[in-house]
Structures are given as C-alpha cells and as structure tokens.
Amino acid sequence: MKTALLEEHRSLGGKIVDFYGWEMPLQYKGVIQEHQAVRTNVGIFDVSHMGRITIEGLGAEALLEYLSTNNISGKEDGTATYTVWCSESGRAIDDLIVYRESATKFFIVVNASNRDKDLIHLLHYSNARDVIINEHYREDGILALQGPKALPLIARLFPETAGLQPMRFLSLPYADRQIIISRTGYTGENGVELYVPNELIVKLWKAILEEGKPFGIEAVGLGARDTLRLEMGYALYGHELSDDIMPIESVSAWTVKWDKDFLGKQALQAIRQSRQYKHEYGIIMEGKGIAREGYPVFQNEEQIGVVTSGTLSPTLHRAIAIVLVDKKLKESDSVEVKIRQNLCKAKITDLPFIPKYSQHHEEGI
C-alpha cells in the first residue's frame, strides 16, 4: 500500500521501507539530522498509514466510553484523548486517540498495524447500539508537524490555529474542503497533526515545506519518529503494548481509570489483585552499548525481563530503552542488559527521558 505522498518522499531522497505493508520513508537525510530538526526547529511527517474512523450517532459516546480504558464521556467538544482499548481478557487491542466533535460525533485515529482489527472490534461491540461507523482509510491522509517552530509555522498558513491548546482540535476550510488540525503528536514537542483529504494532501505538504523553509523545516521519516517517541517514553503498539502486554503493565498504564466501567476491566482488576503482572520502565545504559528489543534484562544474575524498544538517544547521546520486567523497580535501581555476550549496566529512570515541549533546550541556561 502507498500513501498519496509516496512520490514526494522519493523526490526528497526518502529511503522507502515496508512498514506493515505500507511503503513508507524510513529516512531522508538521516535519522539523527531529522531528529534534531524536530527538537530544535520543525519537522513534517507523513503518517497517512494511520487510520481514521468516524463514529456517529446517539450511542457513540457510550460505545467509546465502554471500549476505552481512559475517560471519554463528558469531555468537552473539540478535545482529543489518548486511550488504550483492550479485549474482555484485558489484552491490549490498540492504543489510539479519540476525538470528540460533539456528543454524537467522534472520530478515532488508530495504528497502521491495527486498522482491520480495530474496525472489527468496533463493529462487534457496536451491535445493537445507535451508531454509524465509517472508516476513512482510503480517502484521508495525515500529516504531523512537530517541533518548537511548528505552531508559528502552522499559524502562518492557518491563522485560526493561533491559541489552539494541547489535545484540542478544530475543523477549518482549505481549498474548499474541510480539514482537521489537532494539537497532538508523538514527539513530545509542540505541534499539530492534520487530517486532510488525499486529493489535497500533496498540495498541503508542498505548501508547508515551502512556508517552512525559513523555519529550517525537514521532512522526517519513521526512523526519527521512533527515536523521538522513545525519548518521550511513549508506547508503540507491538512493542510496549501488544496481545501479550496488558495496559496496566505498560507505560500507558496511566490511561486505565478504575472509577469507570470499560471492556476488560474485570480481567485487569483480577490480575492487579493477584499482583502477577509485569511493569515497564525506562532505563539509561551506563556504557556505550545499545539495548535493543528482545535483549534480556537481569538483576542479581537472574533474568527479570526483556527490552521492548531501545536506541541511542540523539538528545542525550546515551543509549535508552524501555524494559518489561517481572518485579517492581524504582528510579536509580540498577539492572543489567545482556548485549550479545556481555552484561551491561543500566539504571531505571523516570519517563520521559527528556522533558516535554523543548524545555531541554533551556537546560543549563
């Protein structure tokens, strides 16, 4: 599958790789350069492989409330909420963002790898409820514009976005069509995501790149998208959340609200009471070796878990990782990661690895 922007990626020198069946740019000029562009200036990403589904009708709010670990009911119109969905047995189906236009009109944005599964899940639980569900997988594209200069840049093209607060969105006209701009993202920087009909997305992509030149804009591929999200300790489905990793075990455990009812709650409560579940933490490697997904994690010569994601942090110049372990650990606890034949020292650290919203640029000033 390809997004409407594939030829644009090729013309910018993008190295195209297969991502869950999608031909996507891994990088253009290089992962580190693109990462730093987002941390210091602004980067634009094609994330059209994610899927948008609309859920409308009198039953929409109750359905989404029931499927989500996080609170959905009663939120203000124009808000976006990150949540996990789980199955009746408490397994993570996906993590996603629920956008509320009104009490009877919502849309969700889901992971590329889970598009079909999420739609089936949604249709299954919508049975006998008053809702209309439509996927917009083919007609919509999605852009992300992220970095300390993303908001001034987008305000030049869309002055209506000035003052838009985090986790809020608005719908506005562009070339005689409606597009949606939300203050959301996956990098920890200020920025927006734009939901745009595919017929307009090439035009908008080019317009943003042109207007962004004085801001130092760079096109950013999936490689830097991963290092950026990992510095923030954000989950990536298939790594920190999966069929085998329950939301209460994951870095997204904060979404689970026990004072509401949701699908999978009973199973999760039983597991919580049994204390037989795992925990995810951030670690920073003390040496130079890089902990990668699947590497075993040890403490006192006993394996306690595995690495779920790991990379070199381009901001910290240190190797960072998220680990899934059997026991409760606290900040500064020592663990070891087996990198090839060697046990390499690491310390548990609070997430995110670096502060949100570019505060790290002011460190030491």
Binding site: K15, L26, Q27, G30, V31, I32, H35, G223, A224, D226, T227, K288, G289, I290, R292, T311, L312, P314, A319, R340
Partner: protein
C-alpha cells in the same frame, strides 16, 4: 582493494589487511552511533563476526573477509562513529589484521564484480 558479498572491503599492504564496510553498506545502515570493535590480539576466521555496527535502527554484524590475527583497531571510532558514514573506505576503517592465508584475499571480489552485484 577487494570486496565481499556482505559489503566489507579489505586492502592489503605488507601482509596486513585493513578492513571496513563499503559505501553501499553505510548507506543501507544509516547513522552509525556506536562501533563495537574486536580486541587487539584476537584471532578471527573468514566469515566470522568481528565488529558490530550500531545504527539508530539496529545492530549489524561485520564479518571478517579473511582469517587472521587482529593487530590494530580504529580507536578514532570510539568517539567518532560517524566516520563510518562520512568516510567508510578511508577514515572509517574498522580493524587491521595479519592474514593467515593470502589466497583467501585473492578469492574475494574485485571492485567491478562487487559493484555489479549491488542492487
């Protein structure tokens, strides 16, 4: 200079081979952020893993093109692993070894044959 199908190069001077990865390999790997070098004095066999190149995405093994004893490693890479990207066939060399068998070198690919194999 000779090449392998796994994208290493080796150059020989006075019986000592200098080994690195090709420009094609560094482009495929992307930004190299850490290089795990072998120990000086260790012995490697042809085709054996000798170096690990860590990119932002993954760890990649570098195989020794020939058998021999490692006599020097490129210490500059400890603080400047990006040399593998910027100068893969010069400043970004990885290790030097004394060849056990010169015929192993002769049997490697010449530049033209290697380049013809690239996609």
């Amino acid at each position: 200079m000779k090449f392998t199908e796994t994208h290493e190069w080796i150059d020989i001077e006075d019986g000592i081979g200098t080994v690195g990865v090709t420009d094609y390999a560094q482009k495929e790997l992307g930004d190299i952020v850490y290089v795990e070098l072998p120990k000086v004095g260790s012995e490697v066999k042809k085709g054996q893993e000798a170096v690990v190149l860590e990119s932002t995405k993954a760890a990649a093994d570098v195989y020794s093109p020939v058998s021999g004893k490692i006599v020097e490693v490129n210490a500059a890479l400890n603080n400047a692993s990006e040399l593998v990207n910027t100068s893969p066939e010069k400043g970004g060399w990885l290790f030097k070894l004394v060849l056990e068998d010169l015929e192993e070198f002769d049997s490697l690919l010449d530049k033209q044959t290697y380049q013809a194999k690239l996609p």
